[in-house]
């Protein structure tokens, strides 16, 4: 039997005031030991504060200074100079454009493909599990390994992609996909979609299996064909999941790093440089921590903006219905 629990939202008011378990207090009801939560809370809390919260605060702080990575000279406060520089820096512009373009194109492809796969795999055929595992397998691969493999697959003379396309399309000229500024980002998109399709597919699959069967049945009885069933019963039932998938796909897309670090190093000519690769190059290779911190803050703001935007778009369509 399950005891009903109070659903907790961040910032939601508690039903009862939190009682101290960390500092001794006079006990109003002797004999009832107040649970001591200290040992449960402090280890993780200290780690979080020291290794995540404080560095993030430092990030905000450094973005207004000219801090360097190794220099013994103390950092000087320079106000918004870093941010002003970013506004004019063409490489940063390229990073932002690439990241946003990548996100805007790859996320719908990924979401659509994942949903299609989930529909195909939502079946009780015997052995369907094998196919699901196969589609999910790329998710489990280490990103660095996948990027390495794809580097070879996209190679101009030794690459399988060119080999397959040459065999299938008459008169096809092999291309150096990762060395050509016009195709490099697309190649990275292929890597990205291949890697995450299974992950999103599994999420959709779970949602599809939660679609109320009675609705589908009544639609079928009303004469709706598969397409109509999909559009009017299935899609609305999985709206929240779809928004979720789009959101995390966008987050992953904006955070693209491993693939571009290994397969293209942001090239050719910055055609595939992304937010995070730029961050690493500026802060680590060029040692400009101040500027890198500004990049990091912009990145966080853009991520939040994109997530909010997706949420708004998702909600708006619900109201239109």
């Amino acid at each position: 039997m399950r005891v009903s629990t109070v659903p907790v939202r961040a910032g939601a008011p508690d039903q009862e005031p939190p009682v101290s378990g960390m500092a001794p207090r006079s006990d109003p009801s002797p004999g009832v030991r107040r649970p001591r939560a200290g040992v449960f809370v402090w280890p993780a809390l200290i780690l979080l504060l020291v290794f995540q919260a404080v560095p993030f605060a430092l990030s905000v702080f450094y973005s207004f200074t000219n801090q360097r990575l190794l220099s013994p000279r103390p950092a000087r406060f320079i106000g918004t100079s870093n941010y002003e520089y970013l506004v004019t820096d063409p490489v940063f512009h390229r990073a932002v454009t690439n990241s946003l373009t990548f996100t805007v194109i790859a996320v719908p492809i990924l979401t659509g493909l994942a949903l299609g796969l989930a529909l195909l795999l939502d079946s009780r055929l015997r052995g369907i599990g094998v196919f699901r595992v196969a589609v999910f397998a790329p998710v489990v691969m280490v990103a660095a390994v996948s990027a390495t493999i794809w580097r070879l697959l996209f190679a101009e003379d030794a690459g399988l992609i060119n080999g397959v396309l040459a065999a299938v399309l008459p008169g096809f000229e092999p291309r150096a996909w990762l060395d050509d500024p016009s195709t490099a980002l697309g190649a990275v998109m292929v890597m990205f979609v291949w890697r995450y399709a299974g992950f999103m597919m599994v999420i959709f699959l779970a949602a599809l299996q939660g679609v109320p069967q009675e609705l589908l049945e009544s639609a079928r009885l009303d004469g709706a064909n598969r397409l109509k069933q999909f559009r009017y019963v299935i899609l609305p039932s999985i709206r929240n999941t779809t928004v979720f998938v789009v959101t995390i796909s966008a987050i992953f897309a904006l955070r693209l790093f491993d693939e571009v670090y290994i397969a293209t190093d942001g090239g050719p000519l910055n055609a595939t440089t992304t937010f995070l690769l730029h961050l690493v190059k500026v802060g680590f290779n060029q040692q400009r921590v101040g500027e890198a911190s500004a990049v990091a803050i912009v990145f966080v703001l853009v991520s939040v903006a994109v997530a909010v935007l997706i949420r708004l778009i998702g909600r708006e369509r619900r109201e239109v219905d």
């Binding site: 009682v19 280890p43 993030f56 999910f136 070879l152």
Partner: protein, 284 residues
Amino acid sequence: MARISKRRYTRLGGKAAHLLVLGTISLLFVAPILFMFIGSLKPNELVLTEGSSWRAFVPTAASLDNYVGAFRRAEFDRLFVNSVIVTVSTIVLGLTVNSMLGYALARLRFRGRRLVMLIVIALITIPLQAFAIPLLLMLSRIGWVDTYHIQIAPFIAAPFFIYMFYTHFLDLPKELEEAAAIDGAGPMRTFLSIIVPLAKPAYASAAIIGFLFYWGELLWPVLVTRGPEVRPLPVGIAVFQHLPPVQWGETMAFATMMTIPILIVFLVFQRAFVRSVARQGVKG
């Protein structure tokens, strides 16, 4: 009669078409992994010359030379040990502290509980990359660069897992804990003897997902390791594939060896794994 057999034919045909599509798609998804594995068995030149044809998937000349080469040239054993040390430590310590905080947030009342909850939720949305460089700066000043602990410590407390444990513990029935409290058991005793055994699936999911995250972590080790002493595998393969003379067969062997631990863990636990990913998605 003809009508009946036609209907059965299309249903069978439909099923066959369905299976064919599924089979093709599955092959497409698995192809690069197969390519990696087959390539690791071939001599380096053949990997390149046969890479663009169907022979890429056929072990035309199978040997383990590449594995020997990768071991020797890339010091694979050292990199492997490094990855194991870092990953296992992070997971073991992480499961401990994250589940304890998750339990405290779900069941214990303490001063500042709401503030801590807020911090955890806020940190979930802030990616490592947003503060990686200042963290590097901080830790380099105390001499932590190029060590094991710099690769482990920042990842032990993970807001994502804290939240995961929190939601899991919230759903557990309270009677058992209440009974234990009546028997005079303190929170730690209750936690260790009742909650932990009950939450085994959550611990298993967290361990597997954690293994996946940390085994493949690239950005942080790139920033904090310098030489090969404590370098983990992902950085290792990034370096090795550019190390002259560049040998793709050996690189594929390296890639395969790096992937095998995860593939084993995955294949053994895949049903639980896939289910936990789906559960997170439905909750979201």
